[in-house]
C-alpha cells in the first residue's frame, strides 16, 4: 500500500480550566492514504470535531492543549512545527470545510475575494490571476453563472451554494488532505446528495485524501473507505467500511448501527442504547461505555481495555476481542506499536 499522507498517533487533547480538566480526545490513531476517505464517526461530545481542530492546530490555547501524540503529515510532525510553518500547511496542503457554511464564510467579503485570498497567500498569484482562478473554481464546484456569482456576497447564496463555495476555497490550493467536519449536516437531503457527489468527483480528480467527520451512518456508508468510531473521546473501533458494517466488534458500534432507522426496512423496534453518554471531566475507571453496555462484564467497570489489534487492519477497544487479538497497545503509546 502507498505511504499514508497523514498519520495520527495517540492524539490526546485536553481542555484545562481552573475547575476541571475535560479529556476531549484520548488516544486517537489512524493512517490516511492518498485518494481515500476515512470517516470519524461519533455522537455529540465524542471528540470527533476537537480531533480535527487539533490536527490543524485551530483550537484556542488555553484552555485547549494537545497533551500527547504525533500528527505526521508526509512524515513531519505537525505538533512540532512553528506557527509560521503551520500557516503554510493550513489551508494549503491540509484544508478544512465546516458544518455551517454561513458562519464560516466572511459576510462582508465577496465570495470571489475569499477564494482568491487563499490563492494569493499560498501560491503567490496576482490578484487578477487569482480572480480568474476563483471563477474557474466556482465553475468546477457547480455554481451556475460563475462569472457573475463570483461577485456575490455569501448571503446571496443558498445553503447548498455556500457549501460549494466553501469547497471551492478548500480546493483552491489543491490540498493533499481535506478535513470535512459534518459538511452536509445543515443541508437538505437532495442538496446533501449533490455535495457528497461533488466531493467524490473532486477526490477522484485531485487524488485527495478526505477525513470525513460525521454522525450520519448513511453518509459514512456512502463515502468512507475506512471508519474510526469514537466514544467519550476515544476511538473504540476502527475497521475498513465493509467489515465494520458486516461484523462490528465493539458493543458501542453494534448499538450505534442497530439504532439507525433505514428507509430500506421497517423495524418494529429500534435497538436503542440505553442511558446517556458520560461526563468527560471525571476521568474513568474501566471502560467509559461499560455503564451502557449490554455485554459488560465485571472487569469492564475496573480495568481499562487497551486497543486490541485484530486481523484485517482492525482495532477494537474492548475486552470481548481479547482472545482473537494479534497484539495490543495502550491508547497513548506513540508510533511503533500501532499498525
Amino acid at each position: 500500500m502507498s505511504e499514508p499522507v497523514l498519520s495520527v498517533r495517540g492524539l490526546r487533547t485536553h481542555f484545562i480550566t481552573r475547575e476541571r480538566t475535560v479529556v476531549a480526545v484520548d488516544g486517537v490513531s489512524y493512517d490516511l492514504h492518498p485518494g481515500k476517505t476515512l470517516a470519524v464517526v461519533g455522537e455529540s461530545g465524542s471528540g470527533k470535531s476537537v480531533h480535527a481542530l487539533s490536527i490543524l492546530r485551530l483550537l484556542p490555547e488555553p484552555p485547549a492543549k494537545v497533551v500527547g501524540g504525533e500528527i505526521l503529515f508526509q512524515g513531519r510532525d505537525l505538533l512540532k512545527m512553528g506557527a509560521e510553518e503551520m500557516r503554510k500547511i493550513r489551508g494549503n496542503r491540509i484544508a478544512m470545510i465546516f458544518q455551517e457554511p454561513m458562519t464560516s464564510l466572511n459576510p462582508v467579503l465577496k465570495v470571489g475575494e475569499q477564494i482568491a485570498e487563499a490563492v494569493v497567500l499560498h501560491q503567490g498569484l496576482s490578484q487578477e490571476k487569482a480572480w480568474a482562478k476563483a471563477v474557474g473554481l466556482l465553475k468546477k464546484v457547480g455554481i451556475p453563472h460563475p462569472e457573475e456569482r463570483v461577485n456575490d456576497y455569501p448571503h446571496q447564496y443558498s445553503g447548498g451554494m455556500r457549501q460549494r463555495a466553501m469547497i471551492a476555497i478548500a480546493l483552491s490550493c489543491e490540498p493533499d488532505v481535506l478535513i470535512a467536519d459534518e459538511p452536509t449536516t445543515a443541508l437538505d437531503v437532495t442538496i446533501q446528495a449533490q455535495i457528497l457527489e461533488l466531493m467524490k468527483d473532486l477526490q477522484r480528480e485531485y487524488r485527495m485524501a478526505i477525513v470525513l467527520i460525521t454522525h450520519n451512518i448513511g453518509v459514512v456508508a456512502e463515502m468512507a473507505d475506512d471508519v474510526v468510531v469514537m466514544y467519550a473521546g476515544r476511538p473504540v473501533e476502527s475497521a475498513p467500511i465493509g467489515e465494520l458494517f458486516k461484523n462490528p466488534k465493539h458493543p458501542y458500534t453494534k448499538g450505534l448501527l442497530a439504532s439507525v432507522p433505514s428507509i430500506y426496512e421497517r423495524k418494529e423496534r429500534l435497538e436503542a442504547i440505553s442511558g446517556q453518554p458520560p461526563d468527560l471531566s471525571g476521568g474513568f475507571t474501566g471502560c467509559p461505555f461499560a455503564p451502557r453496555c449490554p455485554q459488560a462484564m465485571s472487569r469492564c467497570g475496573t480495568d481499562d481495555p487497551p486497543q486490541f489489534h485484530l486481523a484485517g487492519e482492525r482495532m477494537s477497544n474492548c475486552w470481548l476481542v481479547e482472545d482473537e487479538t494479534k497484539s495490543s497497545s495502550h491508547r497513548h503509546a506513540p508510533s511503533g506499536a500501532i499498525q
Binding site: 437531503v189 442538496i191 458494517f245
Partner: protein, 338 residues
C-alpha cells in the same frame, strides 16, 4: 368511511405578506397553498418535506397557533379554524404539540415538575393533591423520567431527557392528537432511537393519533403508517407508508427517496442516485405550472404551464403529476442498479 377523522384539513392556505428589501414591493409568501388531508384516530400520519416547504406552518395552522388565510381545519368533527377564546382552549386539551428543540421549548426557570403539571393548572384539572400525584407518577413512568428529576431545572439534563419532559408535558392532558414537529432531529442517533421507541409505545398505550412533521424519511418509515410529501407549500404525494417507499409516483418523491443515504455500504455501492439540479426555488416566487418542473427529469412542455392537482392512482395513493405516475411499478428496490 364511517369513522370521523380526528383531523380533517381542507384547502388550507396560509399566505404571509412580505417585502423585498426594506422599501421593496409587497409580495406574498404562500407558505401553505391549498393543502388537504385527513388523519384518522390512532393513526400516525407524517408530513415530509425539505426546509421551506411549509410543513412547520402547516403544523401551526392545525393547532390554531396561526390563523389560516383560507380553508378549514376540523378537529373531531368541529371546525377550529374559526374558533376563539374559551371554545378553542377547550379543544386544545385534545391536541398537543412536541417541538423540535428541547433546549428552547422548556422554560429554563421552571422545574421539571412545574413544566409537566402546568397544563393541569391551566385547565384546572386534578385539583385533588393525591390524584395529581398519582397521575404524575404514571406519566413519569410512561415517559421514562426518574422521580428525582422533578425538582430540577431543564438545563441540568441532556437533549434526550429534555425531550422526554416535553413529551410528558404534551401527554399530561391525555390528548387525542399530538403534533410532533421534528421531535428527534436535534438528538444523537442512539438517543433518537430511545425517543422513537417511546413515541411508538405511547401511541399504542394511549391510543394517540400523531401528525408527525419531519424531513427524515428513515425516521418516518419507522414510525408512521401514512405519509404526505410536501414541496413549496403543496402536498405532491400521499400514500400509505409501504406503498410510498416501494412505489413512489411523484418525481420529487422518487428523487427525495433516492437521495437519502442508506446505512449499509453493500446497498449504498449499488444504488443509483437521482441528483436533482439546483436548489428549491424561493417560495416568494414559485415557478409557474408545476412547481417542481424546473428540477424534474421527466418534465414535458405542458408542465411549464399546467399545474396538476392531486390525482388518485390507487385507493389511498394520490400524486400531483400526470407524467410519471401509474407507469410500471418502480420500487425503491428497482432504483438499486444490479
Amino acid at each position: 368511511m364511517s369513522v370521523t377523522p380526528i383531523l380533517a384539513v381542507k384547502d388550507l392556505k396560509k399566505h404571509f405578506d412580505a417585502r423585498k428589501g426594506l422599501f421593496g414591493e409587497k409580495t406574498t409568501v404562500k407558505a401553505v397553498d391549498g393543502v388537504s388531508f385527513n388523519v384518522m384516530p390512532q393513526e400516525s400520519f407524517a408530513v415530509v418535506g425539505e426546509s421551506g416547504c411549509g410543513k412547520t406552518t402547516l403544523g401551526k395552522l392545525v393547532l390554531a397557533l396561526e390563523k389560516s388565510s383560507e380553508g378549514t381545519v376540523h378537529f373531531d368533527g368541529q371546525d377550529i379554524s374559526k374558533m376563539n377564546g374559551a371554545a378553542l382552549k377547550k379543544m386544545r386539551r385534545e391536541m398537543q404539540v412536541i417541538f423540535q428543540d428541547p433546549y428552547s421549548s422548556l422554560n429554563p426557570r421552571m422545574t421539571v415538575s412545574d413544566i409537566i403539571t402546568e397544563p393541569w393548572v391551566i385547565h384546572d384539572m386534578y385539583r385533588n393533591h393525591a390524584e395529581r400525584a398519582q397521575k404524575l407518577a404514571k406519566l413519569l413512568d410512561d415517559c421514562g423520567i426518574a422521580k428525582s428529576y422533578l425538582p430540577r431545572h431543564p438545563h441540568e439534563f441532556s437533549g434526550g431527557q429534555r425531550q422526554r419532559v416535553g413529551i410528558a408535558r404534551a401527554l399530561a392532558l391525555d390528548p387525542k392528537l399530538v403534533v410532533a414537529d421534528e421531535p428527534v432531529s436535534a438528538l444523537d442517533v442512539s438517543i433518537q432511537a430511545q425517543i422513537l421507541n417511546l413515541l411508538k409505545d405511547l401511541q399504542k398505550e394511549r391510543k394517540l393519533a400523531y401528525l408527525f412533521i419531519s424531513h427524515d424519511f428513515s425516521v418516518v418509515r419507522h414510525l408512521c403508517t401514512r405519509i404526505a410529501v410536501m414541496y413549496l407549500g403543496r402536498i405532491v404525494e400521499t400514500a400509505d407508508s409501504e406503498t410510498l417507499f416501494n412505489d413512489p409516483q411523484h418525481p420529487y418523491t422518487e428523487a427525495l427517496l433516492s437521495a437519502v443515504p442508506v446505512p449499509d455500504p453493500s446497498i449504498e455501492k449499488r444504488r443509483k442516485r437521482i441528483l436533482l439540479t439546483g436548489d428549491v426555488p424561493s417560495p416568494l416566487k414559485p415557478p409557474p405550472g408545476c412547481r417542481f418542473h424546473p428540477r424534474c427529469r421527466y418534465m414535458r412542455d405542458a408542465c411549464r404551464t399546467h399545474d396538476q392537482a392531486l390525482i388518485e392512482a390507487k385507493s389511498g395513493h394520490e400524486a400531483a403529476c400526470e407524467v410519471l405516475p401509474f407507469k410500471d411499478a418502480r420500487s425503491a428496490a428497482a432504483l438499486v442498479a444490479l
